[in-house]
């Protein structure tokens, strides 16, 4: 913060290297942030964004797990569909936006679609890899103990691949978060991405920075508090955190 303030004082006020609308003072940013919180713009935006991502992410997790399980279950599907899914995953989710707008129009569904498509494949690929890398001994042991069919899936295969699934969910989350911001910036009427765009349209660099900070903080909080906790829990259980 201090370095930022010093850089601002020197660069903008003293030497006049940059214009004030290019490089904001941290004080202005905090002031704007405070203002945004005070008139509830940011609160409304966060709630709108949260609604979208929760729904979109939930859809993508369900879809991703289904796709992953189906691929693992049928070998011919695995051989044929895996390269396609890998290809689809490398496509940045924002590239789906024009497609989504043509399908759904400029509305919620389009953004939801982009979020879902952004993380579905990450989840599916993680699940598939997780199941493929299970120690075969677990399955042999479970089979000799009378487990089969759905029971072996529920009691052995899923818990055994849980570490991989959680890291897939985490990756899916970050994809979904990015997709959400991209989608909102392009086509939303409210939400964090839209507030960010309004900042740009008004040439209000302080607002742009303020919203960026909010986005970063939210991302880190979810990552650390939710996924970090789950991962930590699993690692402890499995004895992985003691190298």
């Amino acid at each position: 913060m201090i370095i930022w303030e010093v850089a601002y004082e020197l660069g903008v006020e003293y030497f006049r290297l940059w214009k004030a609308y290019v490089f904001p003072s941290p004080i202005d940013v905090v002031k704007t942030l405070y203002g945004l919180v005070n008139d509830q713009t940011i609160i409304i935006a966060i709630i709108a964004s949260a609604k979208r991502i929760v729904l979109g992410y939930a859809i993508s997790v369900v879809l991703g797990l289904l796709v992953g399980l189906t691929i693992v279950k049928f070998k011919w599907l695995d051989e044929n569909a895996s390269p396609l899914i890998l290809g689809l995953q490398t496509l940045p989710s924002i590239c789906w936006l024009p497609f989504a707008i043509l399908w759904y129009g400029l509305n919620e569904s389009a953004i939801m679609f982009v979020i879902a498509i952004g993380s579905t494949f990450a989840v599916a690929i993680a699940l598939e890899a997780g199941i493929k890398n299970i120690n075969p001994l677990y399955i042999r042991a479970a089979r000799t103990m009378g487990a089969s069919g759905i029971k072996i899936y529920w009691n052995v295969i899923i818990p055994a691949s849980l570490p991989a699934i959680v890291s897939g969910l985490k990756q899916g989350w970050s994809f979904a978060w990015r997709a959400l911001m991209a989608g909102e910036m392009m086509s939303a009427t409210k939400g964090l991405g839209q507030v960010l765009m309004v900042g740009r349209d008004l040439a209000d660099i302080s607002q742009v920075m303020a919203v960026m900070i909010v986005i970063i903080v939210l991302g880190v909080v979810v990552d650390k508090l939710i996924f970090g906790q789950i991962e930590q829990n699993i690692r402890q259980r499995w004895g992985l955190d003691r190298a």
């Binding site: 001994l137 677990y138 042999r140 042991a141 479970a142 089979r143 000799t144 103990m145 009378g146 487990a147 029971k151 009691n155 052995v156 818990p159 055994a160 849980l162 699993i234 259980r237 499995w238 004895g239 003691r242």
Partner: protein, 281 residues
């Protein structure tokens, strides 16, 4: 009624791109109810394959295995297997691991816990019932695996070198305890090992397997009072006899694996004690 296992003309071939190996060739063997049998053989003689076929984890190329006259087609809780690694599930704690089989069988939770505790007590691990698997030593893990195997109340217990990865003190303790548990439960135990001493200590009958192709070479009845321990004089005599049988098989396997110029008799590191008896006096 006690279970009897019959292995009839079982053969197993492994065919890959580069090779066609006959691992087992027309194996015939019968296990009497309540018998403790050790299958002894050099590595690669197909003893684990035989156990896997009996367990139903692998299919025989020819022949059949019957349990009480019914043909074995797949794995099942009437023939529980203990592996060299404990194969416990790291996402469950000790007691849940022991309960796993009963859970699969649909036993209600209260009953499950009761029986799991009974068998944990038998292997002396009730203090660790809530520990996670990574917190246990290798010997403790095998005890948990043994408790888990006992909960099935199956007449047959298949053990695939379960003590091979343990240190010798732990192994000794577990050998004594396994004998006690066997005397208590009177299960039919099929125990695969490559350790002559272990086979002699544990078994009523030691079956020595031949290698390339795998088959039964010779059987030894061991009628020594139990509980037996290593260092028993009567066992030492039997062990020597078994060792003689095993040695030729070990040599056969080694010859197949090493270069042509390898020979067990050539260039021995230690001279034969009979060659120079008294020469240093």
């Amino acid at each position: 009624m006690k279970m009897s296992i019959k292995v009839e003309d079982v053969s197993k071939r492994f065919i890959t791109k580069h090779s066609d190996t006959e691992t087992l060739s027309k194996v015939n063997i019968e296990f009497k109810p309540g018998e403790f049998i050790c299958i002894l053989g050099p590595s690669g003689c197909g003893k684990s394959t035989l156990l896997n076929i009996i367990a139903g984890l692998e299919q025989a190329t020819a022949g059949r295995v019957t349990l009480n006259g019914k043909q074995v087609t797949g794995p099942g809780p009437d023939r529980v297997v203990m592996f060299q690694e404990a194969a416990l599930f790291p996402w469950l704690n000790v007691i849940d691991n022991v309960e796993f089989g009963m859970k699969m069988a649909g036993v209600e939770p209260k009953m499950r816990r009761e029986r799991a505790l009974k068998y944990l007590k038998m292997v002396h691990l009730t203090n660790f019932q809530h520990a996670f698997i990574h917190e246990l030593s290798g010997g403790m893990r095998q005890r948990v695996a043994l408790a888990r195997a006992l909960t099935f109340d199956s007449e047959v217990l298949l053990m695939d070198e379960p003590f091979a990865a343990l240190d010798s003190q732990t192994k000794m303790l577990l050998q004594i305890e396994l004998q006690q548990i066997w005397l208590k439960t009177k299960k039919t135990i099929l125990f695969v090992t490559h350790n002559v001493e272990e086979a002699a200590i544990l078994a009523d009958r030691v079956v020595v397997m031949a290698a390339n192709p795998g088959g039964i070479k010779k059987e030894f009845q061991i009628q020594v009072a139990r509980p037996r321990q290593s260092g028993d004089v009567d066992l030492a005599y039997l062990m020597n006899n078994i060792m003689q049988e095993l040695k030729t098989e070990v040599e056969k396997v080694a010859k197949a694996e090493y270069d042509n110029d390898w020979d067990i008799q050539k260039n021995p590191i230690l001279p034969d004690i009979n060659d120079n008896l008294g020469s240093g006096v």
